[in-house]
């Protein structure tokens, strides 16, 4: 089951570059929340702060509070513990190239010392079914490398890999931007199904995509969150002029 995310006064830097400034928002549990905005506005940095991936860059720094359910991820937990609860899907599909499909999906569990063969089989099957990839790969699970799949299949494999560790939150950083329209619509269908079980945060450049999959949408500009509201409101009647300019294509 997903948990809500409460972000208070979040600031982030790359070196001296203040990439996120005073972000405050509440992301509801078991819903999809979309983040839109022009390139370089801080959306990706923001999601990377939600699983403490931002700080893997040596020059990066972050302040503020992020609560996930009852856990303050910057006070009460190590980055490794946070990332076990927060799955992430990246812009470019990044399966482990030398591993089989099966090993890719089970990697998160195996590398954390989970080795029960029988339940691994079950988890792999369930995760691949949840990511709508099972029927396409069930005969080659251990024969084919993750890198041998098509781009769209690889991205669904990465989603299965993230789901296998049973996270509460799923972060998706432009998950469909490197994919063709057919694969994109498969990913979107998937987000639609998955949000009943997980809290999903999706960064996207595609506003139709935000409108299709997300209940809530946040608009970022120059490191600040300009507006956060129901997707319907953002796209039909935004309160901020800058949001309106962006969604009507006047800039960005």
């Amino acid at each position: 089951m997903g948990v809500g995310i409460e972000v208070t006064n979040l600031n982030a830097w790359y070196g001296t570059n203040h990439t996120l400034q005073d972000i405050n928002l509440n992301i509801p549990a078991n819903h999809a929340t979309a983040l839109i905005g022009p390139s370089g506005c801080g959306k990706s940095t923001f999601v990377r702060c939600l699983n403490r991936m931002h700080e893997t860059n040596p020059i990066a720094r972050v302040t503020g509070n992020v609560r996930m359910g009852d856990l303050d991820i910057y006070q009460d937990a190590s980055p490794v513990e946070v990332r076990r609860r927060v799955g992430m899907v990246f812009q470019r599909p990044n399966p482990f190239p030398t591993m089989s499909i099966y090993d890719n999906v089970s990697a998160g569990l195996k590398l954390n010392g989970y080795n029960n063969r029988h339940s691994l089989d079950e988890i792999v099957e369930k995760s691949l079914k949840n990511s709508a990839l099972w029927d396409e790969v069930k005969d080659d699970l251990k024969k084919k490398s993750g890198a041998s799949l098509s781009g769209g299949q690889q991205q669904r494999l990465c989603i299965a890999r993230a789901l296998a560790v049973d996270p509460e939150v799923l972060l998706m950083d432009e998950p469909a931007s490197a994919l063709d329209p057919v694969s994109t619509s498969k990913i979107e269908d998937l987000i639609f199904q998955l949000k009943s079980q997980y809290t999903i945060v999706i960064v996207t450049h595609n506003m139709q995509q935000a409108a299709r999959v997300a209940e809530k949408t946040g608009f970022f500009l120059n490191g600040r969150m300009v507006e956060f509201d129901s997707t319907h409101k953002i796209f039909t009647n935004p309160s901020d002029k800058r949001t309106e300019d962006y969604i009507t294509g006047r800039f960005g």
Binding site: E81, R83, F96, P97, T98, L111, K144, S145, R161
Partner: protein
């Protein structure tokens, strides 16, 4: 008019394309020819001395004909095994440190510089150094050394392997895309585990190639062994005694006044090359068996 200009340009491009292709083929031939000539020469001069005795007998006493290089073949095997046990883990370990844990630190830069210098040290100097540090008794700080031995030869060769293994390991790890590291970290895998089980595994084909290069390079080394393993005319597999090695035996026989022994030297060189090729192919075969369809 512009059409004919375009045609001319396109023809020019075709000609350039063919010229460059021919040059590339010529360069390839230039690389292969010396190798083929060496191999042909070795077979021509050495193959006639290859018989069962060569692989089963020790060198004949001075003045007698016959004998073989069995002890040298086994000795080379022992020395190379020792060198690999020392050189490969230290080389891979330091390469991992350079690429993953110490990236950008002063210590890493110092280690990288040292490895590059070590790589350029002539092998004879490496032999003298090993001699001074571990063979000469009064300087020795290791209790079990202090005289010529297989172990000291293995140490000298092992140290020579370190820089090659270290730097190729680093280069190969740096070629692993950051996306792969992030994927592992994003699953909640601790950094050390991600490095060992994901990054190193992804880079392993390249790392193995680096190890094989280092192995093949030291397999033919003679100079560092002159001061350490010394060579041995008799059977010995003891790590604590002087041991025979193919390059040493080739060196001794090539300088011999007897034609019989000179032919044996050619045969020894042939066997050395064939054994290196076999060893490298074996490792390639064994390590490629686990590779999956479509793995990059």
């Amino acid at each position: 008019m512009s059409t004919s200009k375009l045609e001319l340009r396109s023809r020019l491009r075709t000609v350039t394309d063919h010229t460059v292709t021919v040059l590339a083929v010529l360069a390839t031939i230039l690389v292969i020819v010396p190798l083929a000539v060496i191999f042909a020469e070795l077979i021509y001069k050495g193959a006639s001395s290859l018989d069962l005795n060569f692989f089963t007998k020790v060198p004949a006493p001075e003045g007698e004909t016959g004998g073989g290089m069995a002890n040298a073949i086994v000795g080379s095997g022992v020395l190379l095994a020792l060198a690999s046990i020392i050189g490969i883990p230290i080389g891979i370990g330091s390469g991992i440190f350079l690429a993953e844990f110490g990236r950008g630190t002063k210590l890493a830069n110092a280690i990288r510089f040292t490895a590059d210098v070590l790589n350029g040290v002539p092998s004879i100097v490496m032999g003298v150094t090993a001699y001074a540090l571990i063979v000469v008794p009064h300087v020795s700080f290791l209790p079990f050394l202090g005289h010529f031995s297989a172990l000291s030869g293995g140490v000298a060769l092992g140290i020579m392997m370190i820089p090659t293994v270290c730097r190729t390991t680093e280069e190969m790890l740096l070629m692993v895309p950051n996306a792969v590291r992030e994927a592992a970290l994003g699953l909640g895998v601790p950094n050390w585990r991600s490095v060992l089980s994901i990054t190193v595994r992804t880079a392993s084909p390249g790392i193995i190639t680096g190890c094989m290069l280092a192995f093949a390079r030291v397999a033919g080394e003679t100079a560092p062994l002159l001061f350490t393993a010394l060579g041995n005319q008799f059977w010995s597999t003891s790590l604590n005694e002087p041991i025979a090695a193919l390059p040493l035996q080739i060196y001794v026989y090539a300088n011999s006044p007897y034609e019989d022994q000179q032919r044996m030297a050619w045969a020894g060189a042939l066997v050395l090359i064939v054994l290196i090729v076999l060893a490298v192919s074996l490792v390639r075969f064994v390590t490629s068996r686990g590779v999956l369809k479509g793995a990059s």
